[in-house]
């Protein structure tokens, strides 16, 4: 069996040193790159296609989780994290393993043997579905509020602050996110955004629309009993009857 190609994505130097030292005892593993932020890590993973990555969760520019959201190549993932109760449950079920910092050599060896058996069964059965998709789904259930959204658009990664979003529109399995800098398609459900965006700022005004209330210029009647929002950027967003109810409660009028 050929060597397993490993990548380290971790922003703290001592933590990288530790991983490298521990990895030194395993000749079957080859380190093909070390990165100190999610952005560089993401690019390198898509280019070099490692077999497995050690991934820190908290990192500048792009967190470990945000990176997973937009990854094309899907390696096996061993998370390294300090403290993250919710994420740990996601790892328990779906990741190869997760290492809680600080971790011992023995604990590390355990993770490596899990990785090895996963790699073996993968090459035997051939093309087993990656665990990343399951981790994504589990993380989407987190009740933590969303502060930014990571989107891949024509090969580029965009990190959008939620406060820059004017409105969102449902498009089949995707959601179109409208900002002043243009629109971005994200594979996600409206329900997810409805639950994870700040409900003070974002209101589901229609089955297919969520509007940022700070971007509303005025509300006009439309057809019989419906209304339409005129946003500050000139765009129009339809409002359903139940949407109007929620909007009234939110804006207190």
């Amino acid at each position: 069996m050929s060597q397993i190609r490993i990548m380290i994505v971790e922003d703290e130097r001592p933590a990288r040193d530790l991983l490298r030292t521990y990895l030194g005892a395993h000749s079957e593993l080859e380190i093909i790159g070390e990165y100190d932020n999610g952005f560089d890590g993401l690019k390198a993973i898509n280019e070099l296609k490692p077999d497995a990555i050690f991934l820190d969760v908290q990192m500048p520019k792009l967190t470990g989780f945000e990176m997973l959201e937009v990854l094309e190549h899907q390696p096996e993932v061993i998370f390294t994290t300090a403290y993250d109760q919710f994420a740990i449950r996601a790892f328990e079920r779906n990741a190869v393993d997760y290492l809680l910092k600080p971790f011992s050599k023995d604990r590390f060896r355990g993770a490596i043997s899990k990785l090895m058996s996963r790699m073996e069964s993968k090459s035997e059965e051939g093309g087993e579905e990656s665990s990343i998709e399951k981790i994504r789904q589990h993380l989407a259930q987190s009740d933590e509020k969303l502060h930014r959204v990571v989107i891949k658009k024509s090969g580029k990664i965009h990190v959008i602050s939620t406060s820059d979003i004017n409105y969102l529109e449902a498009q089949d399995d995707y959601v179109m996110i409208y900002t002043n800098e243009g629109r971005f398609l994200k594979q996600q459900t409206m329900k997810y955004f409805e639950e994870h965006l700040d409900s003070q700022q974002f209101v589901r005004v229609h089955r297919s629309y969520i509007a940022n209330v700070t971007c509303i210029e005025r509300i006009e009647p439309y057809e019989k009993s419906n209304f339409i929002l005129i946003l500050k950027d000139g765009n129009k967003v339809p409002v359903s009857r139940s949407g109007m109810q929620v909007l009234k409660e939110n804006l207190d009028f």
């Binding site: 703290e12 001592p14 040193d17 530790l18 030292t21 403290y83 600080p102 502060h147 990190v159």
Partner: protein, 351 residues
Amino acid sequence: MSHPVTGSRRSVLIYSFVWLVISATQGVLYHYVLQYPISVVVTDSLISNFLFGFLGLLAWYPTRYIPFQKHSPFYSIMAHVVAGLLVLGVWVLLTVGILNASFSSQENYLEFLNGTIAWRAMLGALVYLVLVLVYYLVTNSQKLQERAKQEERLKSLVREAELNMLKSQINPHFLFNSLNSIASLTMSNPDEARDMIIRLSDFLRYSLKHRENEFVSLKEELGRMKDYLAIEKVRFGEKLLYSIEINEECEKFPVPTMIFQPLFENAIRHSVYESVDPVTIRFTCTPDREFMKTVISNDYDPLVPSMKGTGVGLQNVRQRIQLGYKDKGSVKWEGKDGVFTVNILFPRIFI
């Protein structure tokens, strides 16, 4: 609960003054309308009123010890009636007795006096009723004040508990990542690992100790913050730069413990954690006559959307300053041109 009249000198004076006014009114009436001689008028007024004034003080006790709130209305009313009759009886007997003995020669006056006993008793009953009502009012307002005081005490207790909670929040990410760095250093640089363990211990001990001591010198607070920054610097290396400048006058100034910790933590979280370029954290302290002004600033990239919601740490600091200095201190912050600044004004004279 002390007697509302005899409890303080001021109320004794006021009470006596009221009776003096009543006596004077009665005297003027008797002298100019009924034409009795001054000596008779003065004696009658003073004796009847001041006797009543003195006996009226006793009306407090049934009010105090047999209040309506605790007993059936019938029982309380009966108690007041009995007490009132006793007081009135004693008063009438004493007044009439003394006045009869003093002016045995003035037949004209004595006839008037003995003819008005019933009237006097009725008037006395009325005044007695007024007194009882006043006592009830006073008791109630005293109870209200005491309740308000108790509520205030409770609030300050809750405040204290809140403060303790706010203060004890050490970020678990910081703790475990630091321990991980130490684990790494034990292999590559044992001396630095030991240093870091000592710094971490000092910092943790400080964050536990401060529950007892509310205030420390700025020098000590910043000393522990330097430990904190040094630990973070091991994790982030050249990415984290910091400078802390204070003069001797500032060093001695007392500040609430751990007041700067959330600010340094914020500075690191929003700059170092989110940046790939070096960032500098600066601390300065300027004393002036009324305030000690401290400024903490850090570089940040305004174009990078923040991962974490902002403001919780800052709000906590603002709350602590407002609670601790009763709205005399202030905490202000702004992000401008890639530098985030937090200004705190500590009032210098604060009791």
